[in-house]
Amino acid sequence: MDPRLSPDPTSLDPTPGHISNTMDTSADNHASMDSDMFTDSQPASAGTPSSLSNVNLTADGGSNAGGGAEGNSKRKRFVKVVEVDAPNNLDLDAYIATYKGHTKVNRLEFIADRCPSLQVDALKLAITELRNTNTLHVSRYINLARKLNEAVKFGAPGSASVSSDLLTVDKAWADSQMLKAKQQTDLLEGELKNYKRNSIKESIRMGNIELGNHYYACGDLTSAHRSYSRTRDYCTTSKHIIELCMNVIKASIELGNFPHVLTYVVKAESTPEVAQDKELTKAKLKAASGLANLDLSKYPAAARDFLSIGEELVGNQYGDVISANDIAVYGGLCALASFNRTELKRLVIDNVGFRQYLELEPHIRDLIQGFYNSNYVLCLDIMDKWKNDYLLDLHLHSHIEALYTNIRKKALVQFTSPFLTVDLTKMAKSFSTTVPALEKELVSLIIGGQIEARIDSQQKILWAKQTNKRSAIFERSTAMGQDYEREAKALVLRMQMTNHGLVVKSPPGERGGPNDSESPFEGPHHPRGGRDGREMFAGTRANVSSFLSSFSRDRHHR
């Protein structure tokens, strides 16, 4: 039952760039875009736009485990491609039917790369999808066909059922599609130039959007993003701004530029709403920002976003980005990993809108209920069963480990909280683990301050710690008093020293000024006189003032 998780260097994600020598420029574009996605997401996570600082702050405050896991999950995405033997519950056809547009193919390709047993099926579906939608993204079609050929050559499961028309690259069709794309690009660019010459705002905006849509269809996401962004200067109504934001968000999500997504979500949310589709737009924005926060490993924020989507997206209305099932899974797992019991009850279980999504994924509902009712065996069982499926999810895969660890920690904390003593052997049983392993987990939790307890390793018992708050306060106040005294003394001394000119200076020869007069009978208040002396006074006085006020502030706030 256990998944075979092997870091396999040979199965490293083959980017479309591998075959770019046979392909035109758009293949290169795709390749560079993919690498962009990886390089971009790293520094960008540090430099989240300032307008979002609120969101970030709450996220940081809410989860301390999330922050630690971030580095891990990011690295994992570069180094280790987790290969999944077989999904436990995944029905590929049903799963993929909830998506449309680019994400459908992206997800299929992702599954094909990760899961050998589904490789052929996924590729078949992806190629059919591309052919059926008459895609202009020809390089992608050729690339997928090539992959399918390779898979069949190596005899991947299901190879026998592959029909030959899927295997052979339809050269004529591909050429015609490419030509079509090229003509369309030229046409749109020409039109746009024309509009610009006439400087009709609305036409320029429409022209840019059309060009962006076209680039998007061709898979040239960076150009699409650029075109969409250019409409910003021509937006006149709030409807236009919403349109701009949605377009940019769409392109950015696919580019993996999630900090950008957050910026535009905020921009769109702060725009006065237009009447039509108001709720739907809101829900889409929430979903987008949830995805972005998930990608940035800000699980509490992501959970809040997903939970506040409302019931607007139940029918997969946002299928080109996220399905209703995804909302249930992402939201449920993030919530479990970041909320405490009361929050879980208030925000998840009593959440009418979110319940609709949970109906789509009953096991997540069971998981949350089980967690809330402290039925950890059930929870861990469900989590284990579905792990492989989640590893095959385009957005969730790199966060699964971190989320699972967080949930497990939460469960351990929750398990121990009501008891004064806990028998480790019994506890190990309900977490289906061994005593030494459990002990290790508990130690890390105790050191992290999440459990207030101590372990009797001789009798294997966990004892809740009786903290004597009175003693603690006494100790803290004496320590603080000492600090205060010491700092104040040092300050007084320092003021005296500056007042009396006891300042380290370079040897007089180098300075060439006779200002180092240190005659023992000098007047006390004018050690050096002139401007220098005055500045020194000001400096010391500022020191004293800030010291006193900051210390008093500390006293008020502690």
Binding site: Q466, E485, A488, H500, L502, S519, V544
Partner: protein
């Protein structure tokens, strides 16, 4: 003896004529300063020995002139002279001696020289310790003798005499009284820190090194750099991390430290992460430099302190733990004899009160039970301690406020305030206003403003400020 030189009798009569401090300053000091050195160094030759004729208590000023030269001239152990020295340091008048601190310094140096020659440093240490106390105008005053005494004690490894002096924090520096310069301040705290480190009183050592490092400076002094190196190591020893230096540390010093103490910073970073392996490799890497700086001993002590610190961490997580487990948990598992060493460390820690635990050998290998701190803070000792601390804190706060008032009423400060409102270091902001109200009234940046405005508008330079403030709150005129 040259014919122009006065005889001892003349000098003595002159000296005895100057009875009060004013006379000493006005007439005696110039007179004695004009005399040649060899007058004082001359042998009595039948006349009365000035050291016998003069009283060290009433004529301390002049007595010192003779005593210095006697000490300088003396070689080897001279019982009679030492008796004179002793009589002088125990009875001399600090006020008179301070008038000629140069001579006092020479006297101290001469005494140290005698002590080193006879390999009996106590000859110098004890008199100097007493001399310092006579010399100080106030108990916490730094004198020029301080660094010399500290150095002598350190070299002699005899610290009993200086400890009372070291324990009394320096709170008073007056170069015009004691003829000190910044070097004395730095050296005294550097040596003092080393003495405390020698006694393994690392808390005080850290404090002393910190004072040296954070002393006001225009350029960094080599003493400060060395002090910082030791500061890093002692701080790691005492607290397991490098305590942040005060904000007011001179930027020149900070820059130099960054460049000069890279190895120490690396070692500290590794140490703070508490991973045995990383610390050890870092220590190996830094060893040549530590040895060069003569800090390797401290670094080695850091390694031992690491084990203690790790064991202390374990008390937070475990109630009972076998010695075997402790050994592996603190990373000594791979070493032969690790368990025995660990047991030794724990026993010493229990003895010193660092952990509260019992070791039982009922089970194979031994089992350690960690207990809680038995001090419940419900006794009079705690009460007294807190009270004393509150009193000290109030006293120092009052002193600070007084200093603040004094500075703010100085003409120099006042002038600056009136013609430089756009200066970046302009110190009058909200917190200053609240100072005048007593800082306990401090609530929030903006809250007491109206009251403060009212109060502050009585003085003209502030008025200008407050007006602009009430006009547009939040935009700082500075």
């Amino acid at each position: 003896m040259a014919p122009s030189d006065p005889s001892f009798d003349e000098i003595i009569s002159k000296i005895q004529a100057a009875t009060d401090i004013a006379a000493v300053t006005k007439t005696l000091a110039p007179y004695l300063n004009n005399l040649n050195d060899h007058v004082f160094a001359a042998q009595p030759n039948g006349q009365a020995d000035p050291l016998d004729a003069l009283d060290p208590a009433t004529h301390s000023f002049a007595y010192l002139y003779f005593l210095v030269h006697r000490c300088k001239a003396s070689h080897g152990f001279d019982h009679a002279l030492l008796a004179k020295v002793w009589a002088f340091v125990t009875t001399c008048d600090g006020e008179q001696v301070r008038l000629t601190s140069q001579k006092a310094m020479s006297f101290a140096e001469a005494l140290v020289k005698v002590a080193t020659e006879t390999h009996q440093p106590i000859i110098a240490i004890k008199p100097l310790a007493i001399f310092i106390q006579r010399l100080q105008a106030s108990p916490g005053q730094l004198t020029m003798i301080h660094p010399l005494l500290a150095k002598t004690c350190l070299l002699a490894q005899s610290v009993k005499e200086i400890l009372p002096i070291l324990d009394n924090d320096i709170s008073d520096v007056k170069p015009q009284q004691t003829h000190i310069n910044y070097k004395d301040f730095l050296l005294y705290h550097y040596y003092g820190g080393m003495i405390y480190a020698f006694l393994k009183n690392f808390e005080r050592a850290v404090e002393f090194f910190k004072l040296a490092v954070s002393a006001p400076a225009e350029v960094a002094s080599a003493i400060q750099i060395e002090a910082h190196k030791k500061y890093v190591l002692t701080s790691l020893l005492q607290y397991g991390r490098v305590l942040p230096l005060p904000k007011y540390i001179a930027s020149a010093v900070q820059r130099t430290i960054k460049v000069q103490c890279v190895v120490y910073a690396d070692f500290a970073t590794a140490y703070e992460k508490k991973s045995n392996g990383a610390i050890r490799t870092e220590l190996e890497k830094a060893k040549p430099i530590f040895v060069r700086d003569k800090n390797f001993g401290l670094a080695k002590q850091c390694m031992e302190a690491l084990h203690r610190r790790n064991i202390q961490e374990l008390t937070r997580t475990y109630l009972t733990l076998s010695i075997e487990n402790i050994t592996s948990l603190i990373g000594l598992g791979s070493e032969p004899d690790g368990a025995r060493r660990v047991e030794g460390i724990i026993v010493r820690m229990i003895e010193s009160g660092a952990v509260f635990a019992t070791i039982s050998h009922e089970h194979a290998g031994g089992m350690v039970s960690f207990l809680d701190d038995p001090n419940q803070h419900n006794n009079t000792i705690t009460m007294d301690m807190i009270n004393a601390q509150i009193q000290r804190a109030t006293a120092i706060t009052a002193k600070l406020s007084a200093m603040d008032q004094a500075i703010s009423s100085m003409p120099a400060f006042f002038n600056k305030g009136s013609h430089g409102p756009d200066h970046s270091g302009y110190p009058m902001d909200e917190s200053d206003y609240s100072m005048h109200m007593g800082y306990d009234n401090y609530v929030d940046e903006g809250a007491p403003l109206s009251a403060i405005e009212h109060k502050a508008s009585s003085s003209s330079p502030k008025k200008q400020r407050t007006e602009s403030d009430s006009g547009k709150r939040g935009r700082r005129s500075g």
